[in-house]
């Protein structure tokens, strides 16, 4: 494990990564404060102002097909999209770490079974599988988060397994074993600490992919269901009026892009900052 101050220095020196982290913090703050920051009720329907242009009648970013305020909806949708993304990353990191460590540590039948499941999941086109699961299981925020999370742990598992495999015969592990440490203690105290850095990087990047997946599902109508707004489902009907009310489609997509880009930059920067092979 690297010295914290070195990691911090390397990360902050990377301008794109720092910018990404700052934007993420701002977005999280805006989402958390949405009920107080949003100028209007995101669900309030105002047919007199449907498709109000940005700036018209106090609608800063315009109104949608039901006269709802786009800005307020964006802020509230941010809560949904960020929550799904963050919880998904936690699920992926936990499930991936546990299954990867078990597969690597015990080997044998457990390893074979877990890695075959990984292979099967990695050969199904993600969106196809998620759409089917969501259609079969009734899409709610909980089920959407769970099905995306349970389809995102595979790369973490492969990585942790590799890490455990390469470390479990090393002397510090053998010493702990000789001192009488049990399997669980060996995994938790000796092996996992060495995998924390890569898992952290993978989790950050998983937030980005999870937000993209959620928005795609919601755009296609199988994700977060209206009236709850998510950045993806705000684009749900945009197709039909995109040519005469482009603002309804442009802003939510821009928010998705900005968020995903920020997490990707931050994750990439984190990877470089945690890489022990690079200089200080």
């Amino acid at each position: 494990m690297l010295d914290r101050s070195i990691v911090w220095r390397r990360f902050t020196r990377n301008r794109l990564a720092s910018a990404g982290a700052v934007v993420v913090l701002i977005l999280v703050a805006l989402a958390a404060l949405a009920p107080w920051v949003a100028p209007r009720d995101p669900l309030y329907i105002d047919m007199d102002h449907k498709f109000a242009r940005p700036g018209e009648a106090g609608f800063v970013l315009g109104a949608d097909e039901l006269g709802r305020d786009v800005l307020s909806r964006l802020l509230h949708a941010g809560r949904v999209s960020l929550a799904v993304g963050l919880v998904t990353a936690v699920i992926a990191a936990l499930v991936g770490s546990v299954l990867g460590a078990v597969a690597g540590f015990y080997g044998g039948a457990a390893d074979t079974l877990i890695m075959r499941v990984v292979d099967v999941l990695l050969s199904m086109p993600t969106i196809f599988l998620l759409l089917a699961l969501s259609a079969f299981l009734k899409p709610t925020m909980l089920t959407i988060t769970l099905i995306i999370g349970l389809n995102s742990w595979m790369s973490v598992a492969r990585m942790v397994r590799g890490q455990v495999l390469s470390l479990k015969e090393q002397e510090f592990v053998l010493a702990a074993r000789a001192a009488g440490a049990g399997a669980r203690r060996l995994i938790v105290r000796q092996l996992m600490p060495n995998a924390v850095a890569p898992v952290l990087v993978a989790a950050t990047l998983t937030v980005a992919t999870a937000i993209l997946l959620e928005s795609s599902l919601s755009y296609l109508g199988y994700g977060i269901q209206p009236p709850t707004a998510s950045w993806g489902n705000m684009l749900n009907n945009a197709q039909t009026y995109v040519l005469y009310a482009p603002w309804v489609a442009v802003y939510p997509g821009a928010m998705i892009s900005l968020t995903v880009l920020s997490f990707n930059f931050a994750g990439d920067g984190l990877r470089d900052a945690l890489d022990p092979r690079l200089g200080p």
């Binding site: 759409l131 995109v242 997509g253």
Partner: protein, 317 residues
């Protein structure tokens, strides 16, 4: 080599078993199960339902059902559409050409554009071009395809009127190559540029890895021209691992195609999948899920074999 191919094929068998098992479980997960479509019919009596269940074999133990189902799949029998009663294989086959056309052109764009930018990026590392290309690739990976597609429609179909806003050809018009081409431009560029991002990132890091090797320094030290070192020593070694990427990308290609087809109303397998979901046509849904997954498996199999054949450094066995 032959031993490797056989071994690699054998390795795919547990994967196929796993896939068929996942598909079977998924079918049971569908609301109401396989009988849902009959349950909707008010003229069906309870006795009718039991009779159909017996005919379909649904009263047998679950493992017998799975084996019979898997045996049918292995023979290529994907069942019949719940909605139209037509064979699922036939329905899917009708949609394959449109998707193949879209994916093929997008892949071509991605490989040519991605490889060139990736190689130039690596060769001129830390140049302005490199920064622009790597940042651009990151943006490409972060922008949702459906939104990028909508932007293309707003600008090029709405504002500039250069391309139509969707479809594969003008409805009712006689076939013309230009008409087909102009309809393809939008979706193929959207899907292609999205894939370009991945290709350029992989190409760049692969070239950078080779540039740092001792044999490249040796080649330079021998006094070989920069061009010769680049073409004969660097690229030949750097591009071989990318064969694997060609196989790995199939999985993303299908997902990207589904979304792109939706945005541009392109009548391919992705649209068919979504339509089937809307009509709860589980037979078609599962058929498509299995067919696309099999394509992904076949793609990575071919890529691995191609990689092994192209790179003499790989020891087989």
């Amino acid at each position: 080599m032959a031993v490797y191919v056989v071994r690699r094929l054998l390795q795919a068998i547990p994967l196929l078993v796993g896939l068929s098992f996942a598909g079977f479980v998924l079918l049971r997960l569908a609301p109401g199960g396989p009988m849902a479509v009959y349950a909707q019919n008010p003229s069906m009596s309870e006795a009718d339902m039991r009779r159909i269940e017996r005919i379909l074999g649904l009263d047998r133990p679950i493992h017998v059902q799975y084996l019979k189902w898997a045996a049918g799949m292995a023979r290529g029998e994907l069942g019949y559409s719940y909605r139209t009663g037509r064979p699922v294989g036939e329905i899917i086959r009708e949609r394959v050409p449109a998707t193949l056309e879209l994916m093929g052109v997008a892949y071509l764009i991605a490989i040519t554009l991605g490889l060139t930018t990736g190689i130039v990026s690596a060769v001129r590392r830390h140049s302005l071009f490199d920064y622009a290309a790597t940042t651009g690739a990151m943006v490409g990976l972060s922008v949702p395809t459906f939104w990028f597609g909508l932007l293309v429609i707003i600008v090029f179909a709405g504002g500039l009127r250069w391309i139509p806003s969707g479809g594969i050809a003008t409805l009712g018009a006689p076939f013309s190559l230009w008409d087909r081409f102009i309809h393809l431009v939008g979706p193929a560029s959207v899907l292609g540029l999205w894939l370009t991002a991945t290709w350029s990132r992989y190409a760049r890091s692969s070239v950078l890895e080779v540039v740092g090797q001792d044999y490249i320094r040796t080649a330079r030290a021998k006094g070989l021209r920069g061009r010769t070192v680049l073409l004969r020593h660097t690229l030949r070694n750097a591009l071989i691992p990318l064969i694997t990427l060609a196989g790995l990308e199939f999985r993303n290609l299908f997902g990207g195609a589904l979304v792109t087809e939706t945005v541009f109303s392109w009548p391919g397998v992705g649209r068919l999948y979504l339509d089937s979901l809307n009509y709860q046509d589980y037979a078609v849904i599962l058929g498509l899920l299995l067919v696309t997954s099999l394509t992904v498996v076949a793609g990575s199999l071919l890529a691995d074999i191609g990689y092994a054949a192209a790179d003499p450094r790989i020891r087989l066995g």
